[in-house]
């Protein structure tokens, strides 16, 4: 299994250059996230009014911002926070969503009705506004941005897991598990959930990109992380006001990196889908 999975992975990657590029890019981001401070050429927080708003140059590849901080360094160091927000938020909603979805799908009846109602209610909110409201109500800290992002993603996971579980609930192997003396919880945890997991992987990776965008949107309306923490979204949002006055690099570079990251996650999702799709397997 492992070796065939590995072969298959290698196959999918080599078959599809785009996916390969996404995997490579993902690795680069992970490196930045881990070694950000070491890689960054300057202190991302050190201001220097002497070099404020410098266009890209040999010394500052991405230019400098209004306080003379090196944008390249800020972009690199921001990787950890941005990936962190995305990963933790998506992980949280995945965790809670799967739990709720599995319960709803497997037990059906009242638990399904209650959970589905709650999820419907959540869905009826304009999700971005809900995130705004939550961050505004709880305060704009990184933790709250993560919670808000997690909450608005919750319906997706719950629904997908629920429907996947629903499909499999009647499957022979679940009945078989019942016949062989598994308790309901055990069936859920050991038989159903592991089979739903692969499908979820795709959603997870697509969702990561979305989580980053969401954080950026919050920044734009002023509910992002606190200054001077470097974060892509807030850099784009604040840099955006400088576009017209000609200092395009303030927004462009963080924007490009943000786009690359989202792009990477999206493509990765497609790649994972190929990886998981049984039709692609032989």
């Amino acid at each position: 299994m492992t070796s065939t999975t590995f072969q298959h992975t290698r196959y999918v990657i080599s078959e599809n250059l785009v996916t390969f590029g996404a995997f490579a890019l993902f690795l680069v981001f992970v490196l930045f996230a881990i070694f950000g401070e070491a890689i960054a050429p300057y202190d991302p927080l050190a201001s220097n009014s002497a070099v404020a708003l410098q266009p890209p140059s040999a010394a500052h590849w991405f230019g400098t911002d209004e306080l003379g901080r090196d944008i390249l360094s800020r972009v690199i160091v921001a990787t950890r926070l941005d990936l962190g927000i995305a990963v933790v938020a998506v992980f949280l909603s995945f965790l809670v969503g799967s739990l709720l979805g599995t319960c709803a799908g497997y037990f059906g009846g009242w638990s399904d009705r209650i959970i589905s109602r709650c999820i419907d209610t959540l869905m009826a909110f304009p999700l971005f506004v809900l995130a705004m409201g939550l961050v505004a109500a709880l305060g704009n800290t990184v933790a709250n941005i993560i919670y808000a992002t997690a909450i608005i993603n919750l319906p997706l996971y719950t629904r997908v897991v629920r429907s996947e579980v629903l499909v499999r609930r009647e499957a022979g192997f679940v009945e078989a598990a019942r016949l062989t003396g598994n308790s309901e919880w055990r069936i859920m945890a050991r038989h159903l959930f592991p089979n739903v997991l692969p499908v979820m992987m795709v959603h997870i990776s697509l969702n990561m990109g979305w989580a980053i965008l969401n954080a950026a949107g919050l920044s734009f309306i002023g509910l992002g992380v606190q200054p001077p923490t470097p974060e892509w979204g807030i850099m784009v949002a604040e840099g955006a006001t400088y576009i017209v006055s000609g200092e395009w690099w303030l927004a462009l570079f963080p924007g490009a990196v943000l786009m690359l990251a989202v792009f990477c996650f999206n493509l990765l999702g497609d790649g994972l889908r190929d990886l998981i799709d049984p039709r692609m397997r032989t």
Partner: protein, 542 residues
């Protein structure tokens, strides 16, 4: 005196005024259409007595309503024009006469003045309007009270053209207070059918309808989106404005506002950031006017009580406050946060020499001094604290706080920055729950004692961001309030409390902000007003 946060761009306003009828006449009435964009706030009511009416709304109210009197105008050192608060000029009132005893004033109304519906303006309308201002509660009544105008009993209709105001006590602000935006003259007969028991002052109707006699009428009112004003051809209370139609648009994005102006799609950008002011000016293609805002200060307020939220407060130590005041990187803030578009309020002499306010404090960036002071204080090793600022002022406040954070780190003081959405910032101000905030405060009426009354007095008003309480300071402020400028006692008190403010530094002044406006070169006649809105009556388009 009414008070407002004084950044030039947190809320928009309409400067520029047609002078009252005594002023030299304006240009001949033309048929130009003036387009103005503003952002960061847009007029949200036609009735500025309503709860929640924002500052930009004053600009519209200013031209669709008349007041009894208005202010004169003067030319500032840099050649720009400003109102002159020392000169009162007639508007709806043709003339007025102070009683012998100084305890009342009698206004004679202009006999040819009519409301927009064609009915003449009478003393009854004036009384109803004044009654409304003092009775409706909230900010209008508060502002009237500042001029000792408190009760409808003070207002008397002598005859159709004559209106008398009786004073409760002598107050140097009473007359001035009748020329600020609040005591507008409303068409009482027009409002009357809309009065109900729940709404005795017709707030609901006036919110969306024009009952004025001013130079402009409302042609189109789309709240928060677009307002179109049209010249009232029968206006008599001043020289006929040159601009026939004014289109006011809400454009929230600063970059777009600038782009619109640069591309020539609008005439006036009335909410210009400091950076854009500098850069647009540098292009030479636009008229950029930047006027220091009277009686206004950007400052770092440091909570001066020994305890805050139940814990010992390092900033309660005056040495700490002084150390911080020496550590603030003033020049960097001036350059990178404000792009030079402000008047420095640091590096002055140790003792105040004039009674002007604001004037530069003696502090400059001096790290050695700062370190020495901190070493002497109770917190030689520094401490951790929070610096909050209003998201609405983000453009300049964010770089400012980041620079301060960096500088204080050198002293060993760890500063956590807190960016607070505007709505919450008001609560922060009211609660005084943060050790340090960036404050932005100015008074409408240009008296230092007024500024100090709200910013330093132990009554602990909202804008006393440091919650500073000192009986000695209070005595001086109260004494100054009770006296008139020009007399010695007043001057001594003023100098006294200014010096004290510098010694104690509950707030470290940064700069005096400027109100900027950028216009196409064919627009002239801009005048600075204390309410910081455009006066469309004075603008001219070639």
């Amino acid at each position: 005196g009414g008070l407002k946060a004084c950044s030039s761009n947190d809320t928009a306003s309409t400067p520029d005024t047609a002078p009252a009828d005594t002023a030299e006449g304006g240009a001949a009435a033309g048929d130009a259409t003036l387009t103005v964009v503003q952002g960061g706030g847009f007029p949200n009511s036609l009735d500025l007595h309503r709860v929640g009416t924002n500052r930009p709304a004053y600009g519209v109210s200013w031209v669709i309503y008349d007041r009894l009197m208005t202010f004169g105008k003067k030319t500032l050192d840099d050649g720009s024009i400003s109102y002159d608060y020392t000169v009162l000029e007639p508007e709806l009132a043709e003339s007025w006469e102070m009683a012998e005893d100084g305890m009342s004033v009698t206004f004679t109304l202009r006999s040819d003045a009519i409301f927009h519906d064609g009915t003449p303006v009478t003393a009854n309308d004036v009384k109803w309007s004044f009654d409304r201002a003092v009775s409706i509660g909230g900010f209008p009544s508060f502002q009237m009270k500042a001029g000792a105008l408190e009760s409808p009993d003070q207002f008397e209709v002598v005859d159709d053209q004559t209106f008398k105001v009786n004073f409760l006590r002598p107050d140097k602000l009473t007359m001035i207070d009748m020329a600020v935006p609040i005591p507008v003259i409303i068409n009482a007969k027009l409002v009357e059918p809309h009065l109900t028991d729940d709404d005795p002052w017709g707030a609901e109707w006036l919110n969306n309808n024009d009952a004025g006699s001013g130079a402009y009428t409302i042609k189109e009112y789309q709240p928060n989106e677009r307002i179109v004003l049209e010249r009232f051809e029968d206006w008599k209370s001043g020289p006929m404005p040159q601009v026939k139609e004014v289109i006011l648009l809400n454009v929230p994005e600063a970059g777009n506002r600038r782009a619109l102006l640069e591309r020539g799609d609008v005439d006036v950008n009335f909410t210009v950031s400091e950076k854009d002011q500098t850069e647009l000016d540098a292009t030479g293609n636009f008229t950029v006017v930047s006027t220091p805002i009277e009686n206004c200060l950007y400052s770092v307020d440091m909570h001066a009580n020994p305890e805050l939220n139940g814990e010992a407060n390092p900033l309660g130590d005056v040495k700490v406050r002084q150390a911080i005041s020496y550590a603030i990187p003033y020049d960097a803030i001036m350059d990178t946060a404000l792009y030079g578009q402000a008047v420095p309020m640091y590096g002055g002499s140790a003792k105040p020499e004039t009674i002007d306010w604001p004037q530069p404090s003696p502090y400059t960036t001096d790290m050695e001094q700062a370190k020495a002071l901190l070493a002497e204080s109770g917190y030689p090793d520094g401490f951790e604290t929070t610096l909050a600022f209003d998201m609405g002022t983000q453009e300049w406040a964010e770089p400012t706080v980041v620079l301060i954070q960096e500088a204080l780190a050198e002293l060993g003081i760890t500063v956590n920055i807190e960016k607070v959405p505007s709505a919450n910032f008001r609560s922060v101000l009211v609660e005084k729950s943060r050790p340090m905030i960036i404050n932005n405060f100015g008074g409408w009426l240009n008296y230092p004692d007024y500024f100090f009354f709200y910013a330093y007095h132990g009554q602990d008003a909202t804008f006393n961001g440091s919650s500073y309480k000192n009986p000695e300071m209070d005595t001086k402020i109260e004494a100054a309030l009770a006296s008139e400028p020009g007399n010695k006692e007043y001057d001594d008190n003023v100098k006294g409390f200014i010096e004290m403010a510098w010694q104690e530094v509950p707030r470290a002044p940064l700069v005096q902000p400027q109100l900027g406006v950028a216009m196409q070169p064919n627009i002239t006649g801009y005048q600075y007003w204390f309410h910081r809105q455009l006066d469309f009556r004075q603008l001219e388009k070639a």
